[in-house]
């Protein structure tokens, strides 16, 4: 047990103590109307809370490493995970806000007047959240594995236990002020090492302005080594893969149930627009910094680590090699470690770089605390989404409508526990790196919810048959493509598993439109209510006329 272990552990415990403290304090005050369902929270803070919800292990732990390994091609993740907010804020958030429903399955069930559609949406929510949480558990394995200097697999097991406890405590997610605190800690933990590295390497405290030259210099180093330049476009995959992945992440953002929920609880359509804008500003701060993180990490590895004698590697290397995610082998037996001989997993770049750059035990501990918060809070929220979809939408509505309150609570608890264990088992041998696993969740959302919501809000002719068949076809096409591309080696235009959402979305849109048009239109009343969603909050569209309700303004 060294001082680094103690400092990291202390910072993790202190930050979680802060989150729980705020939650407990606010829960006690919750009788005051101000805090009910987050209404009345200013858009700026709501934006921060959305940011904290959004920044999972994929953004915090995985993203910079993915950009470092993929070079320009990794930027599809940067553009995809930010650009989706425009689709969401322009085309869905204000309208869904007006519908007044609190969850995506609930909106789909009521808009299409169909219990079957609701159940399919609930099943899709479970599949998407489950896939997403595998990535989070794998991320917690990386952090815990390094902390205790054990294999990442053992780290995952410890993570499962902590998350199961954290998730069953429940309720922490919905509290805006906890998430505001979480956002602030996350972003400080992410920016501090980048600013230090920027000062170390370029003498400029503003990494965003200084790392351009580093990117160009990396290209030169690559040319000397005779490998393709860091920034070469479409070096690791085709241009179609880049576009497909970007689309899939954007459409997935607009259809992801746990993100959309945040917009249902704002007070007005106006607040929905401003919350979206603030959210992207806060999220953008991390996404603008991730490529800088990647460039500095790669620069330090190439300049300071590569070239060292193999029997005299810095102390940090051993601890990371123990996690099984880093290997340094002297392939050509010349006694010197070359850049090509370093095999570093995407998932450890963010965690390992502060150690590599020797930024001190406090910064390293801070990054560990930020990473833990990102992984655990998102995983907790996702597992609760799974359990409420299962216990409320499926068990209570379909399997046993007469279930008592007590029985439903028991089902909810058991489903959290089972989902956590199963996700943990899959995460023991993660089927990909964190960003890749999370990209599958986005692909599934873009193949199911994105078409269902866009058509549900903007096309009054879409009916229950259309949305049911559309969601099923979109889900199957996306899943099939992911498996075929990942394990069967089948690709179209070089689009691999992470870009599968584009096929799912096209198939779902077509199916929904064709089936809707060849079956009876929805009732006149439903069609009018769909049109009503376009009008601002205090206008009501009814019987072909528009009514203004002065009571509500």
């Amino acid at each position: 047990m060294d001082s680094q272990f103690l400092v990291s552990l202390l910072l993790i415990i202190a930050s979680f103590g802060l989150y729980i403290g705020i939650a407990v304090y606010n829960r006690a005050k919750q009788t005051s109307e101000f805090f009910v369902a987050g209404r009345g929270v200013p858009s700026v803070y709501n934006g921060m809370a959305i940011g904290a919800d959004w920044m999972s292990a994929a953004s915090f732990i995985g993203l910079a490493g993915t950009v470092m390994v993929l070079g320009y091609d990794g930027l599809a993740y940067i553009m995809g995970w930010t650009g989706g907010y425009l689709l969401l804020t322009f085309l869905l958030a204000p309208q869904l806000r007006k519908s007044g429903r609190y969850t995506v399955p609930e909106f789909i069930g009521d808009r299409f007047q169909s219990k079957t559609a609701l159940v399919i949406a609930a099943i899709a929510t479970i599949i998407i959240s489950f896939t997403y949480s595998i990535g989070q558990l794998a991320g917690s394995g990386v952090v815990i594995g390094r902390l205790f200097e054990v294999d990442a697999k053992i780290g995952v097991m410890i993570g499962v236990v902590i998350i199961a406890i954290y998730a069953t405590m429940g309720g922490m997610k919905g509290i805006t002020w906890t998430q505001v605190a979480q956002y602030i800690i996350l972003i400080i933990a992410y920016l501090v090492p980048i600013i230090f590295m920027s000062l170390q390497i370029t003498n400029n405290p503003l990494p965003w302005l200084s790392y351009g030259n580093i990117v160009s210099e990396l290209g030169e180093l690559d040319r000397e080594l005779g490998i393709s330049e860091y920034f070469t476009p479409f070096d690791t995959g085709s241009k179609w893969q880049f576009l497909a992945l970007m689309f899939s992440l954007m459409a997935g953002t607009a259809g992801l149930p746990h993100v959309i929920v945040r917009f249902y609880t704002v007070s007005t359509m106006k607040a929905a627009r401003w919350s979206g804008a603030w959210a992207l500003l806060f999220i953008g701060l991390l996404y603008l910094s991730a490529p800088a993180y990647a460039a500095f990490s790669r620069f330090i590895l190439m300049k300071q680590v590569a070239g060292s004698p193999i029997d005299n590697l810095p102390g940090w290397t051993e601890k990371w090699i123990n996690t099984g995610l880093l290997s340094m082998a002297d392939g050509n037996s010349d006694g010197i470690l070359q850049w090509q001989e370093i095999a570093i997993s995407n998932d450890i770049v963010v965690m390992a770089t502060p150690e590599i750059a020797n930024l001190g035990i406090f910064v390293i501990g801070l990054v560990a605390a930020g990473a833990m918060a990102a992984a655990l809070s998102t995983a907790g929220g996702l597992l609760m989404a799974i359990s409420s979809s299962f216990s409320h939408d499926i068990y209570f509505r379909i399997i046993n409508p007469n279930a008592s309150e007590k029985k439903r609570m028991a089902v909810a608890r058991w489903s959290i526990l089972i989902a956590t264990i199963v996700a943990g088992l899959v995460a023991l041998n993660p089927p990909g790196v964190i960003t890749q696993i999370v990209a599958w969740a986005f692909a599934l959302a873009s193949g199911t919810f994105f078409p269902a919501l866009i058509l549900g809000v903007w096309w009054k002719r879409a009916n229950a048959y259309g949305v049911i068949s559309g969601m099923i076809v979109g889900l199957l096409v996306t899943l099939t493509y992911i498996f075929l591309a990942k394990f069967g080696g089948v690709t179209v235009f070089g689009i691999i598993d992470t870009g599968a959402g584009v096929f799912g979305a096209v198939a779902a849109f077509l199916t929904n439109i064709i089936v809707s048009l060849s079956t009876a239109p929805p009732s006149q009343k439903t069609q009018e209510e769909v049109l009503d969603l376009r009008y601002p909050e205090q206008l009501k569209y009814k019987d072909g006329e528009v009514w203004k309700d002065d009571e509500v303004i």
Binding site: V215, S216, P291, Y535, V546, W547, D550
Partner: protein, 99 residues
Amino acid sequence: MKKIDKKTADAYIKAIFRLTTVLLIIWLTVSFGMVLIAETLAQYTFNGFPLHYFMGAQGSIVVFIILLFVNAYICDRIDEKYNLVEKKSKNVKGQTFSQ
């Protein structure tokens, strides 16, 4: 509840629709458009970056953020013009799509 002229309400919707269309075209250009011409952009540099890398890592994201704030600001002005400023909404669940 009082009835208002449907033409006024539809003019409001048209104004919002026009704004959204313009913003989404800019969005398409800086994201998908810039990726399509990445090889051409790679010949130029900006602030030390190869230009295609700058657009992917910084340029497009900054534009996205600006577009969202422009949208929120202009929508507020449109609300004012049509005298539809929201103060607060009814604090109850929406009443549409009732079963």
